[in-house]
């Protein structure tokens, strides 16, 4: 082109104005529109981000279940089961029985051992040992006695026996307040043992469909809780 002074100043500007230029750059594009080909030909960050991750951090928390669900602790069920233990003669809600959890039994065992601390006896090891031996023995006995199509797992036995430990916990806390010695104390202990074993055997007999064997199941439970009563009283 000729560079005469007249031509230079007479050229018409055909490029984009400054406003248009600014528009191009505000959309996140790094190149002016004249150089924008098909968006598929070069990288545009917006198109490669998945819509979920690109949103906030809340969605990441929703993928994992809440902590109590993961631990299997369901306070509603725990409360219902505790109520059914406290009242063994009321009909229990069978749906809660299938939910096998060990948190309630653990709490009750620890509470029992702590109540023994109040009496000056440090028997954590004995409580643990008796619970272990008792539940293993009880589940073996139930598996041998019940019909083969209704097996009973150790965890289920632990759960039932642990929940029905609640009256023994009450007994041991009460024995700190009232000293149970002598004949009267033995009668009270026997009442509590019977309370625990009736609720435990009721749960076992209904869930394992043992007909005419409830007393036979109640007796080993009574022996199991009798050991705890011995630990409390003597």
């Amino acid at each position: 082109m000729s560079w005469t002074s007249g031509d230079f100043y007479n050229q018409q500007y055909i490029g984009p104005t400054s406003y248009e230029l600014q528009e191009q750059y505000t959309n996140g594009n790094f190149m002016p529109s004249s150089f924008q080909f098909n968006s598929q030909q070069f990288y545009s960050p917006n198109e490669y981000l998945s819509p979920t991750v690109s949103s906030t951090l809340d969605e990441i928390e929703n993928i994992e279940p809440p902590l109590l669900d993961e631990l299997g602790i369901n306070f509603e069920h725990t409360y219902k089961k505790t109520k059914s233990v406290l009242n063994p003669f009321a009909t229990s809600d069978t749906s809660i029985l299938d939910d096998v959890d060990l948190a309630g039994p653990l709490v009750f065992c620890l509470a029992f051992a702590f109540s023994l601390l109040l009496l000056g006896k440090i028997h954590f090891g004995y409580v643990y040992g008796i619970v272990t031996l008792g539940t293993v023995g009880m589940s073996a006995l139930l598996n041998l006695m019940a019909s083969p199509d209704k097996p009973c797992s150790c965890i289920y036995t632990t759960s039932v026996l642990g929940y029905c430990l609640l009256p023994m916990v009450i007994l041991s806390f009460a024995s700190f307040v009232f000293h149970f010695n002598g004949f009267f104390g033995m009668i009270i202990a026997i009442i509590f043992i019977l309370w625990s074993s009736i609720s435990a055997s009721k749960l076992f007999a209904t869930s394992l469909a043992m007909i005419g064997q409830q007393l036979l199941v109640a007796y080993p439970c009574a022996l199991f809780y009798g050991v705890f009563a011995l630990l409390t009283m003597f």
Partner: protein, 352 residues
């Protein structure tokens, strides 16, 4: 399908009808090979068995030196072989094959013995959460034979307890059988069980703890010590009795598992004696109850075991006539051991 061991089933005793003759013949040679004393004259053994084939004679007699027998599974174990514990019809030993067997109808009529491999598998799978194929066959058979002893119900337990404490009423003491298998305890009051011995042994431990507690001698270790002593003395007693059966070469239909049950009934008497002492704190009452409990337990055991150890009076004499005296002595030994243990296991709990 005789079980080999100290409690050997007599050869001519009416066995469970062998539904398959073949497997019985195959089962017999290994056990006869290891039998210490052959009840039959071993004339057949010397008849041309060195290299001469004898197709007619069943391989039990002539084939011992010819035919290499596969080593039997622990059936030749002297004392505690699972096979002595397993008193079952031969059809149940063919468990790996799942065909319908002619013996199965006897099994199915008795629901307790209807524990086939699949049922045990299912139960154990739910129990342990793993597949049960890892369990050996012998264990499954033992579990099913032990299950027989736990098939009890409340009425049976009540009747048996009353019987243990007062057996002097005239009654029929014979065991019931259905198709030559013993009927489960739920049906027959005379059958032995394991529920009462087990529960009474644990109750004994607790009552001992209670007695010690009233004497201010209780610590939780005492519970463990009493439980261990119960177990150990039981084991010693069963060992002594099995050894005596073996030494005397007495073949009776009493199984080892039955003997364990009968030896466990003494704990009921022990608890009765201890409770009487606990209630009255009087040595005289304790000694009287000890005497009464010993008498009633001895009477009970004599009546129960007489039919099993002593030979049948009406039948032929398969056991030999001079075996009778040994059997009587054996019965007396069983019966005298029980009061001795009752006294020995309670005396340290009694203080003047």
């Amino acid at each position: 399908m005789s079980s080999r061991g100290p409690m050997r089933l007599g050869k001519n005793y009416p066995h469970p009808p062998s539904q398959q003759q073949q497997p019985q013949q195959q089962q017999q040679p290994p056990s006869q090979f290891y039998q210490p004393t052959a009840p039959y004259p071993a004339a057949n053994n010397y008849a041309g068995d060195f290299g001469m084939p004898q197709p007619q004679i069943p391989p039990s007699y002539g084939g011992d030196f010819n035919v290499p027998q596969p080593p039997p599974a622990p059936s030749h174990n002297a004392f505690f072989s699972p096979q002595t514990a397993f008193y079952a019809p031969p059809s149940q030993q063919q468990i790996p094959s799942n065909q319908a067997m002619p013996g199965m109808e006897y099994l199915s009529s008795n629901p307790l013995f209807n524990v086939g491999l699949n049922v045990v598998e299912q139960g154990m799978k739910d129990f342990t959460g793993k597949t049960v194929n890892m369990l050996p066959n012998e264990m499954k058979k033992s579990i099913s034979s032990i299950k027989y002893y736990f098939a009890v119900d409340q009425a049976y337990v009540f009747k048996k307890l009353c019987l243990l404490l007062f057996p002097f009423r005239p009654r029929n003491w014979s065991l019931g059988y259905s198709a030559d298998e013993p009927v489960p305890p739920r049906v027959d009051t005379n059958a032995p069980d394991y529920y009462i011995p087990l529960m009474s042994a644990i109750t004994y431990v607790l009552v001992a703890g209670l007695v010690l507690g009233t004497q201010d001698r209780f610590t939780p270790e005492q519970l463990g010590m009493h439980a261990s002593s119960v177990m150990v003395w039981n084991v010693i007693e069963i060992c002594v009795l099995c050894f005596t059966f073996y030494i005397f070469n007495v073949q009776s239909k009493l199984r080892t598992l039955d003997l364990i049950a009968y030896c466990g009934y003494k704990y009921v008497g022990m608890i009765a004696a201890l409770s009487s002492y606990l209630l009255t704190h009087s040595l005289f009452v304790y000694r009287c109850s000890l005497l009464y409990v010993s008498l009633s337990l001895s009477y009970f055991l004599v009546k129960c075991l007489r039919l099993q150890i002593l030979p049948d009076t009406g039948g032929s004499q398969p056991y030999g006539s001079n075996g009778n005296k040994r059997r009587i002595y054996l019965l007396l030994l069983v019966v005298i051991l029980q009061p001795f243990f009752i006294w020995y296991l309670t005396r340290h709990l009694i203080v003047d």
